[in-house]
């Protein structure tokens, strides 16, 4: 086979016939992917597509500064391939996942273990990286945690109070989301995609709807795009506000903690005003939206939005003014810009380390093509930066919603959905509140899902938390963890 020179370039929310995706022999494919990552690319998705003669590797790469995506694939691989992780750590979890799902060994991968399951029947705990030494001790936390939160396992290697290394083992929430999508869409698919990560219902539902609309060649009604963009920011407002409160709570700063807990609920109620469900379930359907925001309802939303924003600004002001809070947040859990880039961090965690990285800006699709969102960035990389990012984005999201409510798109909210094109690969990115939500679908000849890949922002970012804990006091874990607030189920799928 003659090796192609370039990946196939496409933009967010578009598709390409599978036959047109360039294929390389696997060694050359790894080299080409590595080269792309060295020349401004970033790995959005990396997964296997089984064929009779082996498994093809597929890479979806984002060139953020060029507002372009690129996709390429390997020839079928049978047993192993040279690990990309050695040159590009951002591939580490992807390669573990491919190994787990398809049995392909990335030769040279420094820490090859399952992502979700051990020997097919247990969570992915297995062997942990251990630091040796007489003074070293291990702290093991989870899967069941002390609060009302999702399960996961944390293994700390400590010297006294200091954390030398943290390894995070997930998989406890594995519900078989991707497996169930094979041959779909099925009648439960929309509901399953709305609950990939329950706090990112709008993010994942928008990505899924975009995939189906792209495959069908259906133009989503403008008003539905407008509604989705508003709902996406409402989701961001609720979660960011909740996180500011949780961060305040973890440093025992109760005024902000108490206020934000309530205001978060007020933002959730704005989503419920729109569709009846506080998490946005039932709002988005492939082909459009199910509920409209009539003028009177929009006016009500605006009034309540302004009230909640005023309250959250006051609560945040106390937080920034408090020396004790700043002392705990600043220089805690720092991730440098270089580390963030190397790990391929996305979303607010990346922006808090100074990286300009935001799907709404870099790869606008849907309504963001008409209503751009400026990227908020903060350079510190510490807990303070990640907290500050949330506050900046709260301002921006509220302003965005105000602007959109003033200039509504007219027309229908739902158009019929055509049949999906067969043997086609579609890509959809959405900037969820944590960061990039990436969905990739490959259809079979009948237009059914042959492979559906979901990459939540958390899949990229958990390693960021592990790195942030290096040489930190173990007592700082709660605020470091909250400052990322990553999804367990979004990774476990």
């Amino acid at each position: 086979m003659n090796a192609p020179r370039e990946f196939f370039q496409l933009s967010n929310g578009t598709s390409v016939p599978w036959a047109d995706v360039p294929a390389w022999p696997v060694d050359e494919f790894i080299a080409a992917t590595a080269a792309a990552l060295e020349h401004g690319g970033r790995l959005c998705a990396w997964f296997g597509v089984p064929e009779n003669s082996g498994t093809r590797l597929v890479a979806v790469i984002a060139y953020d500064s060029e507002n372009t995506l690129a996709v390429g694939r390997s020839a079928p691989v049978v047993k192993s391939y040279p690990s990309l992780t050695l040159r590009h750590p951002q591939a580490h979890l992807f390669e573990r996942e491919v190994w787990e799902q398809h049995g392909l060994t990335p030769e040279g991968h420094p820490w090859l273990k399952p992502v979700r399951r051990q020997d097919g029947g247990h969570p992915a705990v297995g062997e942990f990286f251990q630091v040796q030494g007489g003074e070293v001790h291990e702290v093991s936390v989870g899967p069941v945690h002390a609060g009302v939160i999702e399960p996961g396992h944390f293994r700390f290697q400590c010297n006294g109070e200091d954390v030398l290394h943290l390894e995070i083992a997930l998989g406890y929430q594995h519900r078989g989301v991707e497996e169930a999508l094979a041959g779909g869409p099925h009648r439960a698919t929309m509901s399953q995609l709305e609950t990939v990560a329950g706090d990112t219902t709008i993010g994942h539902a928008t990505a899924y709807a975009t995939i189906l609309e792209t495959l069908a060649g259906t133009e989503t009604p403008l008003r539905a795009q407008w509604l989705r963009a508003i709902a996406l920011e409402l989701e961001r407002l609720a979660n960011h506000t909740g996180d500011l409160g949780a961060l305040a709570g973890d440093v025992a700063f109760l005024p902000t903690s108490a206020a934000c807990g309530k205001i978060r609920g007020d933002f959730l109620n704005l989503t419920a005003l729109l569709c009846g469900n506080r998490f946005g379930r039932g709002l988005i359907r492939p082909g459009g939206c199910k509920h409209d925001l009539e003028a009177a309802r929009g006016a009500q939303l605006l009034e309540k939005l302004r009230m909640a924003l005023a309250e959250v600004n006051q609560a945040a002001e106390w937080l920034w003014d408090s020396n004790s809070v700043r002392a705990r947040f600043e220089f805690t859990g720092t991730v440098s810009p270089a580390q963030a880039a190397e790990l391929g961090l996305v979303g607010l965690a990346a922006r808090a380390s100074g990286l300009v990285r935001d799907v709404r800006f870099d790869h606008p699709a849907g309504w963001h093509r008409f209503a751009p969102v400026p990227v908020a960035v903060w350079p510190g990389g510490d807990v303070f930066a990640r907290a500050r990012m949330r506050w900046l984005e709260i301002q921006r999201s509220a302003k965005f919603i105000e602007e959109q409510l003033a200039t509504p798109a007219e027309g229908e909210i739902f158009a019929g959905l055509g049949a999906s094109a067969g043997d086609t690969l579609a890509v959809a990115l959405v900037e969820g509140w944590r960061g990039e939500v990436c969905h990739v679908a490959l259809t079979d000849s009948a237009g059914k899902f042959r492979r559906y890949k979901i990459v939540d922002a958390s899949f990229h970012n958990w390693a960021g938390l592990a790195l942030a804990m290096r040489n930190q006091a173990i007592s700082d874990f709660p605020i470091c963890n909250k400052s990322f607030n990553l999804s367990y189920c979004g990774v476990d799928l």
Partner: protein
């Protein structure tokens, strides 16, 4: 921030905790719809329009038998309400949904058009837990929405603590479990161990469609069929997720505090 500003703010805002249950409950969002009512008697002859539109297979109508909707499997998408040509399935806008027995969530038959709300604990258990209930929460394959709306009950608006209900860090300190999630096989052992660590007598509360029957993931081999696959359940609270008001109503109903 100076301490006097905090105090001033508190004075300005006053008490932000809702009056409920002494006063009226907060209104559900108008598009929420509340629990469902199913009158099989209204079904058109042989009509099964609602069956295939249900994403979680909560509705059945075997030939010659009346329609049956399992509210434990329901995610309240209202697709059946829209599909029904004879208004046999309708929304009630009522928030109470908690039941003590799984079969009390089956709707349709005459006399069983709506769910049969939970009775309070018996006198002995009520004496033990009625004024002080400590719960250990276990998320086992949840999506973090049920968890989030359980957490909301701890905020100043709801203030769960005023009822003596509190979430504790250790199962050893708990009187029972509050379970969310579809019970992933990967959490089966952890859930069992947590349950075993709670001293008897203990109660178990299943919150959300997933914990009751698997929710949107019903039938996936990676999950079990709800919390009852691993532990006995004393209270079922349907929803995807249940509104905080529905969860609070269930807890208070169980403790006999809504009389």
């Amino acid at each position: 921030m100076a301490a006097h500003q905090t105090i001033l703010h508190r004075l300005q805002h006053g008490c932000q905790t809702m009056a409920y249950p002494a006063g009226p409950p907060p209104a559900l969002p108008d598009r929420h719809g509340g629990t469902l009512r199913v009158e099989a008697a209204k079904c058109a002859e042989g009509c099964t329009a609602c069956v295939p539109v249900c994403p979680t297979q909560a509705i059945t109508r075997p030939p010659g038998k009346p329609v049956e909707l399992d509210l434990g499997k329901c995610i309240f998408c209202a697709a059946c309400v829209e599909a029904c040509p004879t208004q046999a399935i309708t929304q009630t806008n009522k928030h109470p949904m908690a039941v003590r027995r799984r079969e009390d969530l089956l709707l349709g038959k005459p006399g069983e058009e709506e769910l049969r709300l939970a009775a309070a604990l018996d006198a002995k258990m009520k004496k033990l837990f009625g004024r002080s209930l400590r719960l250990r929460q276990v998320s086992a394959g949840g999506c973090n929405a049920c968890e989030a709306d359980v957490n909301v009950l701890g905020t100043i608006g709801w203030d769960l603590g005023r009822f003596g209900i509190q979430f504790v860090a250790s199962p050893r300190h708990a009187d029972g479990l509050l379970i969310t999630g579809a019970i992933s096989r990967n959490m089966e052992l952890a859930l069992k161990k947590t349950y075993d660590a709670v001293p008897a007598p203990k109660i178990v509360i299943a919150v959300g469609a997933c914990a009751i029957a698997g929710g949107p993931f019903i039938g996936n081999p990676q999950i079990l069929s709800g919390a009852t696959s691993v532990v006995p359940v004393d209270l079922y609270i349907p929803g995807c997720p249940p509104h905080p008001l529905t969860i609070l109503d269930g807890l208070l109903r169980l403790l006999g505090r809504l009389d």
